[in-house]
Amino acid sequence: MPARMALVMALLVAAPCARAADLPPAPRTLVTDQAGVLSGAVREQIEQRLAAHEVGSGQQVLLWIGRGTGNAAVEDWVARVFAAWRVGRAGLDDGVVIFGFVDDRKLRIEVGYGLESRLPDVTASRILREVMVPRVRVGDWDGAARTGVDAVLKVLAGGAGPATEQGRDRLELSWWQIALAAAAALLFLILLITHPSLAVQLLFTIAAGGLPGNRRSGGMGGGGFRGGGGRSGGGGATASW
C-alpha cells in the first residue's frame, strides 16, 4: 500500500515536468511576435528601447506575443517559461516579461524576484488594465505594446540598480580568485624568463580571443536576448479582455 501511494505521488509530482517539452524555446530577440499582430516598424522600435534599457540598467525586459498556452493555465505556463528562459541576471533576478496571448485573450506581466518591490502586482495589474487592455480591445496591438512597454520601463527606471554585470563582477573578486591571478602572473613571469618568445605568443593569443570567463553575457548593445539566469516566483498580474 505505501509503495502504491508512493507511485501515485511520484506520478502526480512528475506530471508537470513531462509538460516542460511543450514550452517555446528562449527567444533570440527581446521582442517576439508569433501571432503577427505587431507591425515591423513598431517591433523594431520596441526592440531598440528594450535593448537600450538593458544596456543602461542591466535589467532584461521582454515582450512576447503568442497565440495561446494550450491547455495549461496562463500563470502556470508563464512561470515555467520564465524559469526555462532564465530572464534577468543570476542572483539579481531582475527580469520582466510582458506576455500577450491572442487566442486566449489574455495578457500577463511576469516579474522576476528582484523587481517585485519595484514593479508590484498592483502596478503590473494597472498597467495591463488601464494601458494595454483598452487598446488591445480595439485591435490596436501596436499601441498596446508600445505604451505597455513604456509604462513598465518608466516604473523600472524609478530607482537605480547596479549598472552593468561587469561593474558588479569586479566588486566580487574573492581572495582565491586574487590568489589564482597572482599564481598565473608568477607562472607567466617564469615563462617570460625561460621562453620569452613563447610568452609573447601566449600574450597575443589571450589578447585576441579574450579569456572565456570574461566574455560579456551576449545580447547587450545590439539587441537580442540571452537568458542571464534570473528567476521569478509568480509575481505580476494577469488581465483578459
Binding site: D76, A79, G234
Partner: protein, 198 residues
C-alpha cells in the same frame, strides 16, 4: 592473511568514501528542500498579511455577509496557530505538514467564498481600492502555486535520491535525520472548482 587484511581495509575505505559522498549529497538536497520551504512560508505569510485589509475593504460595502467574514477570520486564526507551533519542523514531520496544508487550504476556501460574495456587489468590484487588493490577492495565490510546485520538485529530488541505491542502504543507520519529505497535494477545492457563471 596479510592480503586479506588489505582487501578488507580497501573495502572499508571505499565504503567510507561512498558513505561520506552520499551523506553530503543528502545534506545538500535537504538544504534545498529547507530553502524552498522558507519560500513557501513567505508566500503564505504574505497572504495572511493581506487578509485583514481585504476583509475591511469588503466589509465597508457588504455589511450583511457576517458569516463569510467570520469564516475568513476563523480560517486565518487557524493558520496563525499552526505558525505559532513552529514552522521549521513542519518539513520533518508529515503529520505537522498535513495540518499546515489543511489550515492553509481552509483559508483558501474561505477567501474564495469571500471573493464570490463580492460578485453580488458590483459597486465594490468597480472601486480602485478593491481592484488593487484583488490584484494583490491573485498575485499572492499565484506565488503560492509556484512555490508549492517548486517545493514538490525539491522534495521529489530528495526522496528519489533517498530511495535509490546505495543511499537507501545507509539510510537505516542515520535514523530520522533524512526522513522522507511530504508533498503538497492538489487542493480539494481546486479539484472540484466551482464554475463561475456569467
Amino acid at each position: 592473511m596479510k592480503k586479506l587484511l588489505w582487501i578488507v581495509a580497501g573495502v572499508g575505505v571505499l565504503a567510507g568514501i561512498v558513505l561520506t559522498g552520499t551523506y553530503n549529497q543528502m545534506v545538500t538536497l535537504g538544504e534545498s528542500v529547507g530553502a524552498q520551504w522558507a519560500q513557501v512560508e513567505n508566500v503564505y505569510q504574505r497572504r495572511a498579511d493581506l487578509v485583514p485589509n481585504l476583509v475591511e475593504t469588503v466589509k465597508g460595502a457588504a455589511k450583511f455577509e457576517q458569516a463569510t467574514f467570520t469564516g475568513v477570520a476563523e480560517a486565518r486564526a487557524r493558520v496563525g496557530q499552526i505558525s505559532a507551533e513552529g514552522l521549521a519542523k513542519v518539513v520533518q514531520d508529515p503529520a505537522a505538514f498535513e495540518r499546515f496544508q489543511r489550515a492553509q487550504d481552509g483559508l483558501s476556501t474561505a477567501l474564495s467564498r469571500l471573493m464570490a460574495v463580492v460578485e453580488k456587489y458590483p459597486d465594490l468590484k468597480a472601486t480602485e481600492g478593491f481592484r488593487d487588493l484583488q490584484a494583490q490577492l491573485e498575485g499572492t495565490e499565484n506565488r503560492i502555486t509556484v512555490e508549492r510546485m517548486r517545493f514538490n520538485e525539491e522534495a521529489r529530488k530528495f526522496n528519489t535520491r533517498r530511495r535509490s541505491f546505495p543511499t537507501v542502504v545507509f539510510m537505516g543507520f542515520l535514523g530520522d535525520r533524512f526522513a522522507e519529505k511530504a508533498y503538497f497535494q492538489a487542493e480539494v477545492a481546486a479539484r472540484t472548482a466551482p464554475k463561475v457563471v456569467f
